[in-house]
Each structure stands twice: as C-alpha cells, then as structure tokens.
Symmetry: C2
Subunit: 290 residues, 2 copies
Amino acid sequence: MKDFTVDNLTDEVIAAYTAKAVTPRMQEIFAALIRHLHGFVKEVELTEAEWFAAIEFLTATGKKCDDKRQEFILLSDTLGVSMLVDAINHPKGGAGTESTVLGPFYVPASPAMAFGADLRRRHLPEAETCLVTGKVTDEQGAPIAGSTLEVWQTAANGFYDVQDASAPEWNLRGCYTTNEHGEYALVTEKPVSYPVPTDGPVGRMLAAGGRHAFRPAHLHFMIKAQGCEPLVTHVFVDGDAYLDSDAVFATKQSLVGEFKPGVGGEEAKRFGIEGPYVKLEYDFGLMRVR
Amino acid sequence: MKDFTVDNLTDEVIAAYTAKAVTPRMQEIFAALIRHLHGFVKEVELTEAEWFAAIEFLTATGKKCDDKRQEFILLSDTLGVSMLVDAINHPKGGAGTESTVLGPFYVPASPAMAFGADLRRRHLPEAETCLVTGKVTDEQGAPIAGSTLEVWQTAANGFYDVQDASAPEWNLRGCYTTNEHGEYALVTEKPVSYPVPTDGPVGRMLAAGGRHAFRPAHLHFMIKAQGCEPLVTHVFVDGDAYLDSDAVFATKQSLVGEFKPGVGGEEAKRFGIEGPYVKLEYDFGLMRVR
C-alpha cells in the first residue's frame, strides 16, 4: 500500500486517470489538468483555509448560474481563459473577421428581424440612436446572401435585458438576415461601456485583484452562413475609455468600429430615423469551411 | 490598445490581477493560478467545444451541492487535490497521528455521546457489531482528558446517513469525549468499503478516466482538545480490497487499524454487546499548539 506524500501524489493521480481513460484525448487532458492543478497548489503551498475558501468560491459560482446568468463563463472571461481559447482556435493572421469572446449573456433563438428593423423594444431617454450597416462576405470578398447575424448588446443604462427586470423581453436582441447583396442593416442605440456583474463571486474576485469591472462599449455578433465557419465577435466603439483595460481581455484593434455622425436626409428617411443619430459601417468576412 | 494573442495574453492577465491585488498573498495566488490555468489550456490546445463542456461540468458541479452534499469537495478529493493540501499542511514525519481528507460528508454539531455509547440509530441485518476503544494523548504520550472525537461513517449498506432517506437522523454520527484517563470508547458497526457518489458530474469524470469509485472502509475522526491542533483523519480497515486504489488517494499505512475478533465476556457485558463483534483499538496523538 502506498503512503501518499507531496512528492509522489501527483504522479499517482495522473497514473490513476490515464491508465484506462476512455480516449487518448481524455488521457491527455487529465494528465495536463492534474499536473497544472497540483503544480498550482504546490507552488503557493495552499493552506487548508484557502482550500476551503476556493471550494466555497466555486460552489457559489455554480449556484449563481441560472437560465439568465452564467457565472462560470464570466469567471473564464475575467481570468482571460475564454480569450485564450479564442486565440488558440482562431489564430491571428487568417483571412476573415477576427473573433472574440461569446460572453455570459448570449441567449439563443432571438427573434427574426427585417432588414433595417429597429432592435429597440423601448426608448430610454439617455440612448443615442445608432444605424449599423455593412455586408457579409466570404474571405475572398464575395457577398453572402441569407447569412444570419444574431445581435445583442447592453442598453444605454448599462444592462443587458436579462439583467434588467424593467426591460421588455428580447430588448436589444434580434437576428438579421443579409439581402441578395450580402447587406445587413439595423437601427439600435449606441452601446455604452458597462461593468460586468459584480454582485456575485466573480465581482469579489475582481475586487481582490484590485481590478475595475468595466468593458468597453460593444455590439455582439454571432454570424452564420451555409458552408462557412460561424463567427462570434464584437464591434467595439472607437474612443471608449476602457479599450485599454477590458475586464475580459477581449479587445482587438481590427474590431474597433468608427461611429460617425449620421448624415440624415434620405438615409434617415429610409430607416425611419428621426433626430440625430450615429452610424457604424462594418463589414464581416466569414471563412469557408474547407 | 493591445491586441491579445496566445503569446502575450497570459502576462497581461497576470499583470492586471497583480498590479493592485489587495494583499501580497492574493497577488501570489493570482499569478500562480493564472499561469497554471493558462498553461493547461495552451498545453492541450483546448477546443471551444471542450471549453464549453468544462463550463457545463463546473456549473453542474455547483448545482449538485446542497446542505447534504458537497460535489466540489468530492471533485477536489477525486483529483487528489484535497490530499495534496493535507500533505502540504501536515508533512510526514511529525509526531502525532497522521491526518487525511475531511471528505464531502462531514456534518458539524453531531450529538454528544456518552462513553461507550452505541453510535447506531438502527440495526441493519448485514451490519457487523464493532467496539472501538483507545486513548487520546499529546505527542509526548500524556493522556488528554476532555478531548472531543467527532465520529462519522457509512452504514453497512454503503451509505452515509445524509445519502440515505431511510436512515434515522444522525445515524452513525456522534461526538465522544475522553474520560479522565484520556480514553474513549464507542460501539458501532464495522465500516464497509463503498463507492463515492457517482450520480453527479464527478461520477461522469471518474467514468471518463476509467476509474472505479470505491473507497476502502474507514471510520472518520475529527479530534479536538484545548491547546492542541485539531486532527482530521480516518482509521482504515486492514485487509480492505481498495486500500491500494482509494478513489480519493487518502490512504496512509499508519492509519490502517487492526479489526480483531471481540473476546466477549466482561468486555461485551461492559459495553452491552450481545453476540459476536469485532474490536478496534486505536490511539490518537495530538500536537500541542506551539
């Protein structure tokens, strides 16, 4: 019988999980996971009180998850893990638009929206009207008709609909489809920078790290087209104060969009916009599946 | 503005959490945690589907926790982390009895029990009666009167009371106190080997690793005395088939007890035992606080 010690335990645990793991990939994941997890505990010489605090933290993180909130995704995001997974799976330098994190507030199956339709289901007085237009092409620049763009964003009060009991259902969420020229258009409000939720375990972690919780303003896009890789990305607002210190490390220079004053006139009339507005033009490039 | 890539992200995240961390210890923990977490993700080149499976696994683990079950402790136990923390904080070679894991089924404030009282609140036909006696001393061998021994164990059906709706409250849990000679005694049933719960995420993980879920039979003890370090440990049953492959890596040679046939006669009469029984004598040494 083995006596387990600091010196032999890690190898024993790895052996226990790799001898009969169901696939070579699981074997690889178990070995690396156990080595790094034990390596962390040994390196910091974790105390029993710290271990128990970690158990309580992880338990509270799980308890905070429900159908409207995913605190473990938020934890992954704020520790830079989501962005690392993104960077590994979508390395820089490929053709097509760069990707970034999904975030914890994606809701599947948002309502279908007509070309140019207004994404707002209410009008906050502080909201700035924003027209967004552009096209979806493949990496060769060929327009893709019938591609779908799921769009979601915070309101001008800094909350996603699912965080805000007063928001109408599906406020600032919808699914647009490109026309025969690969074009999309939508009317919405200009996104604002906002803090990720800080009333849960992740908020306590950010405080322990002395970090602010803000994300630079952005629109979320999930874009799909037949025969192409799905694209999950943001368009950030140029000039935002938090572009250099995003709480979730998700910024990329190529994803910063220019929000210009709207020209009004025919354009405003075409999209039913009254009063001043800003306009973002942003084209997306999808990668064909090989 | 930084573009985050696989190459620069980890250092950026560490810098974000260590620049203003609330204490030097938090700084140390953040730096090591982020380095090892990112190191794991990079080493296995985690796919987006695997990342999402991990999010779902952790969320389900949190959801499985309630006042009677702690799935994150079970996860820590089955990955050898609990035992590693124990080994770091209670290195081998000290005086006093060796420690081992707390496990996920400890319940605080179990009922006070008289010297020699029966821990069973029901009698299962398959249970083997077991007398346990011994003394609690300090590391010099001086008996400690008035020390408390919280004892908990599985029943002969393989379940702790909190796992078994048919079990009476506090079945096989109680808190004994040593007499003026530092002695304790209790009557119970001989523990059996049993599987850790496999109906949750940890069960699925063990299956993915091709591991059995069994723990060798043991009694849990948490022993406290004024002026001494608390001791959390097990006494294992000699000859158990799982001593070499404990699902939670918690075995130590010095913690294996000898369960001998009871001699009957005066001893049986003293403890009110009828019929055959086994007997364990086990002394515990506590460490004085320095």
